[in-house]
């Protein structure tokens, strides 16, 4: 009898958004089920419900026909459900064996731990997995890929393991490491485990998955056969329309002018030797893996992080932005990466959020705010950026993600900037709002602004940018013109070492 995991009408709410809406489907033992969907489609939320991190607001899930209800990840693991996250959840200072048997180390009656026995047990698993590591190795000395293997072995070491989920496991792995990981996933599959695999990469899904569950805006759209269905068809289901349409319909009739912003060999604590220029009317994309240093370049430019060497020129004149406030005054503004923790001021209303950067203009010499000026400014922001809110005095957290983000854009645009930096502006917002943002970006460029777009979504960077800079390991890995940009090329730049890439290109 195959194991089976059923979701029945699962719903989950967060402030301002219905994260999961009536989700029902099944996953079976002995198959790899991929979760496909855009950021914010609900994949991770569903995993967090499955492992007891979140409680569903409606619906239930069943394992082999029995209703399960995990109140914590700990309960889920004990019941045989493990999730392997992108971020490591292991203890770096401990050995491989100690991590695998954390909290369950073999011990005698007095509680004294038997390390030798643990090592012996662990080496059994390691050889099952065929890995060249020792049970006594410190985890911190292992490569990222092997650290991840330790996590998988930790889950595998439990006899009760039935369900194992991988949340974007390959994000920081090299090609050969991905090969090892896939070998292990196949082994687990052949042993009859239920495997859930979350990824953005279509090629991986095709290689490893048997079926694909597609999510869109918190709903389950359907499940498809991973091998036979067409890639374009899957994407259409995932975004609800052809991606090409959105980008093709954008108004790109504009003029690219003189150099506006120039960075010369800037380094901070987080990036090294970054140089680029941005022209008037240009959309400059920044691509690369998470952690490659894209956000950190932007933080250095607006003075959120200190620039240690190099210089930034605006209109040919060197500027020194010691704080985001300075940057704003010189005409460079940033819409930060994480809307919730860096963008919105969650305790203020829409008016407070939009007006926060304009308080100097809206107050008299004593600093007393003029509420008429403020309400005019907020009305204008709401109209110009078509923010959907019942009132300017609505708390910003009550708006949808897309409307919250529009408030942040309205805030920085109200300062009449020359350079607009958008860091992952469409993360976690729905497709409708996304296309509004894309039109907005094109409009800003047309009006003569220099726009920098940092994005992890390759179609987005390619579809919007005139030029794309790829970051890798805190440095620039290359620059690609729009006409030459393909997903493969950007990925290659962001993932491969220079020599590896050259040899591959030479072969091709």
């Amino acid at each position: 009898m195959r194991d089976v995991l059923e979701f029945q009408a699962i719903s989950k709410y967060f402030p301002g958004v219905k994260a999961l809406d009536d989700i029902s489907f099944e996953a079976y033992g002995g198959e790899v089920l991929a979760f496909l969907g855009e950021n914010g489609a609900g994949k991770s939320t569903l995993l967090k419900i499955l492992n007891g991190d979140y409680q569903p607001d409606g619906g239930k899930y069943l394992i082999n026909g029995k209703e399960a209800h995990f109140r914590s990840p700990h309960e889920a693991i004990s019941a045989g459900v493990s999730v392997i996250y992108q971020e490591r959840q292991i203890l770096m200072e401990l050995s491989v064996a100690e991590n695998i048997y954390l909290g369950r180390m073999p011990a005698n009656r007095l509680g004294v731990i038997n390390t030798r026995k643990a090592n012996a047990m662990a080496s059994g698993i390691i050889s099952d997995f065929g890995l060249p590591i020792k049970p006594s190795d410190k985890v911190k000395d292992l490569s990222v890929a092997y650290q991840q293997m330790v996590e998988i072995m930790k889950a595998y070491s439990r006899d009760e393991l039935k369900v194992i989920c991988f949340d974007e496991p390959t994000a920081s792995l090299s090609d050969s490491e991905i090969g090892i990981l896939f070998g292990i996933i196949r082994k687990l599959r052949d042993e009859g485990k239920i495997i859930i695999y979350v990824s953005h990469r279509m090629s991986e899904i095709r290689e490893i998955a048997d079926r694909v569950a597609i999510f869109k805006d918190g709903r389950f759209v359907g499940a498809e056969d991973a091998k036979t269905s067409s890639e374009a068809g899957l994407i259409r289901k995932m975004v609800g329309r052809d991606l090409g349409d959105i980008y093709d319909s954008l108004d790109r009739d504009k003029e690219i002018g003189a150099v506006l912003l120039e960075a010369r060999h800037i380094s901070s604590d987080y990036v090294e030797d970054v140089s680029f220029s941005l022209h008037r009317g240009e959309v400059l994309g920044f691509s690369g893996l998470v952690g490659a240093g894209r956000t950190e370049v932007m933080r250095a430019i607006v003075g959120a992080d200190k620039i240690k060497s190099g210089e930034v020129l605006l209109d040919g004149k060197p500027i020194s932005n010691r704080s985001p406030k300075d940057a704003m005054a010189s005409g460079i503004v940033l819409v930060p990466e994480d809307r919730k923790t860096q963008g919105i001021l969650a305790n203020l209303d829409v008016s407070g959020n939009i007006n926060i950067a304009l308080m100097d203009q809206h107050s008299n010499r004593l600093g007393v705010l003029d509420s008429d000026k403020e309400s005019r400014a907020v009305e204008k922001g709401i109209k110009d950026f078509s923010i959907k809110t019942p009132s300017p005095f609505k708390k910003i957290v009550e708006l949808s993600g897309g409307n919250q983000q529009k408030c942040v854009v309205a805030r920085v645009m109200a300062t009449n900037p020359k350079v607009l930096i958008l860091d992952e502006p469409t993360k976690g917002i729905d497709v409708g709002a996304k296309s509004e943002f894309y039109q907005m970006i094109c409009r800003f460029a047309k009006e003569g602004l220099g726009v920098i777009l940092v994005s992890s979504e390759l179609p987005e960077v390619i579809g919007l940018s005139d030029r794309i800079i790829v970051m890798k390991g805190r440095r620039m890995a290359g620059e690609v013109m729009r006409s030459d940009a393909t997903e493969d090329r950007l990925l290659a730049l962001s993932m491969m070492e220079a020599d590896e890439r050259i040899s591959k290109e030479a072969c091709a």
Binding site: V17, A304, H362
Partner: protein, 340 residues
């Protein structure tokens, strides 16, 4: 009307509950001791309130900004001793007052630098100053109260206005003491700044989310510096007024002053997690806690039990802060469900 409403932070359900609590406390103590609700006693409550009230103003700013200050009790003691000492050495009152205000500002500056430059938690940083400043209060005067004989200094506590002296009546109203007027003026001024100015708005922004506020173009470090220095100056004023009332600088007085002030602020609806609250709430919180404390004394509750009662009141305040926060989140969630 709208402006007035915003000035006192909106009369919400929480404020009505507070007002009800105040009425209950007054009714209770009046029934236990008939002298509770007399003009003299009310004036006494107001005078006693004036010091807690001033400190609560500073705490309102700091707690909304996500910080807290534990040093006011010590600083009030040091200020009183310092001013009394200067005057006793022949310095005129106003120069002495000015020096004391500078000393208060310096302590505030030290608190702010410890939190911004060496990134200490406000709770710990101000615990440091609480001890050091109290120590200096004792050191300055050798541990003994410093008597005040300067007439100008003493007038600070004698001054009352307006004065209605009714010759025929025993209970003639002889005016409200200066200390109370200072508190009223401070509540009005700082309440206005908090609700209606750039600086006030910045405090809410920083308390709600420091990183986002910085990226939005504010300077959180400077805003916190102003808040701490303001608190220092307020404590110095409070210390001078208190010394005048006692006719002496008292190095050992006002231990736990910040305790009452923080309790009042939290009772008044300022959230310990920052970003939420108003001066109107603090005023009610201060009235509630001071009438509570005075009442306990008047019905002869032993001072040891009073400590227990105060602790209980703070626990109650923190619990209601927790419940309010949970309710805010629940309402938000309910709204989202309705909208989707």
């Amino acid at each position: 009307m709208n402006r007035i409403k915003r000035l006192i932070g909106g009369i919400g359900g929480d404020k009505l509950i507070l007002m009800a609590a105040i009425i209950v406390v007054f009714a209770l103590f009046t029934s236990l001791n008939r002298n509770f609700l007399t003009p003299t006693n009310i004036t006494n409550i107001l005078v006693a309130t004036s010091l807690v009230g001033l400190v609560a103003i500073g705490e309102t700013y700091l707690v909304i900004a996500g910080h807290v200050d534990l040093s006011p009790g010590s600083l009030v003691a040091l200020s009183g001793v310092l001013a009394a000492l200067l005057v006793s050495k022949g310095v005129a009152f106003f120069p002495a007052l000015l020096i004391t205000l500078f000393a208060g500002a310096a302590v505030g500056l030290a608190n702010s630098l410890m939190t911004s430059k060496i990134k200490l938690e406000p709770f710990i940083a101000t615990l440091v100053t609480q001890s050091i400043v109290r120590g200096f209060a004792y050191i300055l005067c050798g541990g003994k109260p410093v008597a005040i004989s300067d007439a100008t200094f003493l007038r600070v506590s004698r001054l009352r206005f307006p004065v209605f002296l009714n010759e025929g009546s025993k209970l003639s109203f002889s005016g409200i003491p200066l200390a109370v007027w200072i508190m009223i003026a401070a509540f009005a001024l700082f309440g206005f700044i908090l609700a209606r100015t750039k600086f006030g708005r910045s405090i809410y922004a920083v308390g709600g989310n420091k990183d986002a506020a910085r990226l939005a173009g504010l300077n959180p470090q400077r805003i916190m510096l102003v808040c701490y220095v303001m608190m220092g100056v307020i404590c110095a004023v409070g210390g001078v007024v208190f010394a005048a009332r006692m006719n002496s600088g008292q190095p050992a007085a006002n231990v736990n002053l910040e305790f009452d002030a923080i309790t009042a602020v939290i009772l008044g609806g300022v959230s310990f997690s920052g970003g939420v609250g108003s001066m109107g709430g603090t005023i009610l919180g201060v009235i509630l806690i001071q009438s509570f404390n005075t009442g306990l004394t008047m019905v002869n509750v032993q001072s040891f039990w009073q400590l227990v009662a105060r602790g209980g009141l703070l626990l109650f305040a923190l619990t209601s802060d927790y419940i309010r926060k949970a309710n805010r989140e629940k309402n938000l969630l309910a709204d989202s469900k309705r909208n989707s």
